[in-house]
Symmetry: C3
Subunit: 158 residues, 3 copies
Amino acid sequence: MAMDTGYEALIALNAAYARCIDEDQLEAWPDFFLEDCLYKITTAENYRQGMQAGLVYADSRGMLQDRVTALREANIYERQRYRHILSVPTILAQEARGTVSETPFLVARIVRRGETTLFVTGKYIDVVAPDVSGQARFVERVVVCDSSSIDTLLAIPL
Amino acid sequence: MAMDTGYEALIALNAAYARCIDEDQLEAWPDFFLEDCLYKITTAENYRQGMQAGLVYADSRGMLQDRVTALREANIYERQRYRHILSVPTILAQEARGTVSETPFLVARIVRRGETTLFVTGKYIDVVAPDVSGQARFVERVVVCDSSSIDTLLAIPL
Amino acid sequence: MAMDTGYEALIALNAAYARCIDEDQLEAWPDFFLEDCLYKITTAENYRQGMQAGLVYADSRGMLQDRVTALREANIYERQRYRHILSVPTILAQEARGTVSETPFLVARIVRRGETTLFVTGKYIDVVAPDVSGQARFVERVVVCDSSSIDTLLAIPL
């Protein structure tokens, strides 16, 4: 049984995760997950209907690493920046597999010399547990986007 | 005299409150307040001028429940989603009636298959105290919206 | 050697700083810094290229006070409001001069009776240490704006 992950540790984990993406340190992103994990990006509509398919689906850290490799090779032309703004989390349950929580997020997209726009909002539904070294990691991170018109060519992890 | 509500408890209360609204669990929303309470939505301009009238005014938990009933019966046609993103709170004072704090917020509006827009920003001015069971609750929550052009047909609590 | 500034103290300092600006209490803003300090606003592009020049540069509390005086005398015509929404911080290092951290931010601009727009996003790169009274203060606050098209006539501190 996983130890409880405290509120402050949860906030700090969320912050470090978002920083990793916004700093374009994608190669370090899979390390926020346990080896056996679930990472999924879906929409609120699909999530409510219980649809398993998402925009992105990975059930191991290796699949996350593959995704980073693919993103690097895709070699996105127009440079964009993203900025995650995280709201504060709510702890929903302590389960055997870890601490279940939700955290709302907003991501702004900044186009080079262009306008800053509200790209996407949503919530993370997470299960967090310590890894062997005691570091808090994601057992599960399901990213539920509020809008159904989120770009399927999503160039970054959320 | 109310006990002090700690910083972490305040953050968690804010998070749970926003989640309740964004998850459309409006029937549970009045429970975040004490029986005798003040809930008001106003604008920064009105607030500065000391005007008591707001866009929304309730001074008991019963009035909040009535408001939820009215919102449900209004049966809003076009389905919209809202997403609260909360900034971190500042504790301003410890008073006999509770802990006084301010928390900035941003609410995004997501129209079905449409664009995500910045709906409203503002700050909560709160007095928080424990209820009989020791749970932190709002004695007062005054919602001060930054813009004066906030829609008076506001379909959700803020 | 400065004492470590804890995570909660860092969150509270950020919140109080943003509140000072959004409440238009600019005269109190320099007090968030130590006497010898660095405050700079720059862009992500300039920051990456190691360019020292920024949109704003001050290396003492006195320079910050001068800036406030200049802003007050500029007597900006059209009244605007700003709202800082802060994400949660990441502590990066404990150095001799203080605690190094990063905090993402978003600022919305609210024009009187007009629209609310996403004004700027970015991150604070901070060094925080206690002043003689033990109060956490900024030794350094470097404001890195994501967009390169941030208005050089920036009317407020960020």
